[in-house]
Symmetry: C2
Subunit: 352 residues, 2 copies
């Protein structure tokens, strides 16, 4: 985001936490959720950072998101746990689940934690970054309000169900992948529409299932999965790992953060963590990781002066700059967050 | 494959096993590897079934694949193991690793098994099917001889590194996903070239990094990943989960099954297994799985009479038909397999 203002990490963390405490979220939960949102802002993922606070606060005020969830952890096995989020905020339930996965993986070498009955998790990159800072390789995913049709179908049934992967490096920023299973986000289509532009071929179908480059028709239709049947299959795989294995909601059972004001979202997600120290030992792990990253970075670029990037490099660079110089933010958004921190009601809920 | 002949599952299993025993593979290993290849044939994945025997046998005869590997299992943790395949055949090392992952997951709820120093694993679907028959949800992947450029680069550095996912259902064929990270396989491009056809936009770049629809230029260049930077990132994630975490070869360290006659391939792969009985219990798991699959199947199709398919449905149908009626096969291929079973040298190694 470009913006007239730069707000420091510390100030934004404090504002975000205050905004959540103001609607009844207990301090440790508010701090944990704020840390996830501010990390997204630091990583440059502005669409999934503190700009989402107004929507979260609105849903808590509406009584559909639970400010004080009774989060229950069930475990029948040393390396596995399932969490019922009791309609709690995604970043509250998610950061607790991630920390549990990290702890169980440190004990067992690998761990799976599935979560049901939670809400919008936010970006995956902040969770992946946190896992890597604990020395873990992680693999995580969340289901989402459906925006895609099953391959060969013409009804919206499948979320863009993002997948994330994190892997630590010894002296370099971690490998962080955070990708949705759609070719392009609905937000990008909305932006093109607002500018009066067409969208590229291959992004979306209209409501009848025909390819379209018209943003309005695309928004009435469905976004397309990456690689056709491949992205469709991956999105279903995330629904299985997140929703089915946690006993949670799947497919059209998952509700929108923005559209259904009276229903909890029922988002499901999962964290898989693997401790490299328990696979081949840290020395070999880091040597292999540097070999892989070195081979990739040492690739002749398509455009001179535009070096090949590893997943997570852009975000790591933003994190460094924004941690030092502050997070750029439009005055209007910063004002709205300050008003939420004072406990005022959101003036309007921003669109996804 | 269409073919003048149909060979029964039992006969093909016996022929394939004999072909491997003829070059020194011990009987239990030959049977296990044959079972994987024949399952691929039964599932209709003809490109990765017994048609690959000639290549495997040739490499064993050349001394680069090890017929009698000393497969070593290292484990420092109850739910994790790393296997050194000692240049053994992929289906030999792979089926042993899969069975270990299933056993460790039954004990711990989840398990990770990484393998290094093996060879071409074959299709992932037969392994995923086997895991689901043991009641496991599985997530597996293998690295492969590079065919793609890093996103934004113009050198071949990244394999199409397939990912597989399997999830059992109670009274229906399992969910089985088996996808490479490239939009289209090089084999498809070669076929188009042989027929004098162009390939679609978005499949490949030429050696200079420019989009091409010319099969010859595409084969000199590189295939494109699904979703651009997304498929590139997923392919690297597989390299990390398979190669880095097992201490194995990655990226350009992995050799071709067909091109380098004097080098072992050094393929790395991994199996993650999760026991649904240890997450939310089998009753809830199957109920959730049927809800998800039911919602997807109950989708209005884009073309009337062409119902929406779940990943694995086509393969399950083929498996049923071919188990009953036999596997259709060209006379030339069947003759060649019979000749290998008699211990004769392959007349020529087929291309990928």
């Amino acid at each position: 985001m470009t913006g007239a203002f730069r707000v420091s990490r510390g100030e934004l963390q404090s504002l975000a936490s205050s905004a959540l405490k103001a609607v009844g979220v207990p301090e440790p939960d508010a701090d944990a959720a704020a840390a996830i949102l501010v990390t997204a802002d630091l990583q440059g993922i502005d669409t999934h950072g503190t700009s989402r606070l107004a929507a979260y606060v609105t849903r808590v005020r509406d009584g559909v998101f639970n400010a004080k969830p009774d989060i229950v952890v069930e475990s029948q096995s040393p390396a596995v746990a399932v969490i019922d989020g009791d309609r709690g905020l995604g970043p509250v339930v998610g950061s607790r689940a991630l920390d549990l996965a990290v702890r169980l993986a440190a004990q067992n070498g690998v761990a799976y934690v599935g979560c049901r009955n939670s809400q919008h998790l936010g970006a995956l990159a902040p969770y992946a970054l946190r896992a890597t800072r604990h020395g873990m390789v992680c693999f995580l995913g969340t289901n989402a309000f459906p925006s895609m049709a099953p391959w060969g179908g013409r009804e919206v049934k499948v979320g863009n169900n993002p997948l994330g992967v994190g892997a630590p490096r010894r002296d370099a920023p971690a490998f962080i992948l955070d990708i949705a299973m759609s070719v392009a986000a609905r937000g990008k289509i909305r932006k093109a529409g607002a500018k009066g532009e067409r969208i590229p071929d291959g992004w979306a179908l209209d409501a009848e299932g025909n390819p379209t480059t018209d943003p309005a028709k695309a928004l009435d239709g469905y976004v397309l999965p990456i690689g056709g049947h491949k992205g469709y299959g991956l999105a279903l795989a995330v629904d299985i790992l997140a929703g089915v294995l946690s006993g949670g909601a799947v497919s059209t059972e998952v509700q929108s953060l923005f559209k259904q004001k009276d229903k909890p979202q029922q988002v499901s997600f999962f964290f898989l963590a693997i401790d490299p120290a328990k696979t081949i030992g840290l020395d070999t792990y880091f040597e292999r990781m540097e070999t892989l990253c070195g081979l990739i970075k040492d690739t002749e670029p398509s455009s001179v002066g535009d070096p090949v990037l590893l997943p997570g490099e852009i975000e790591a660079r933003e994190l460094e700059i924004r941690s030092r110089d502050g997070i750029p933010m439009e005055a209007e958004l910063l004002d709205s967050i300050r008003s939420l921190a004072r406990g005022e009601a959101p003036s309007s809920v921003p669109k996804a």
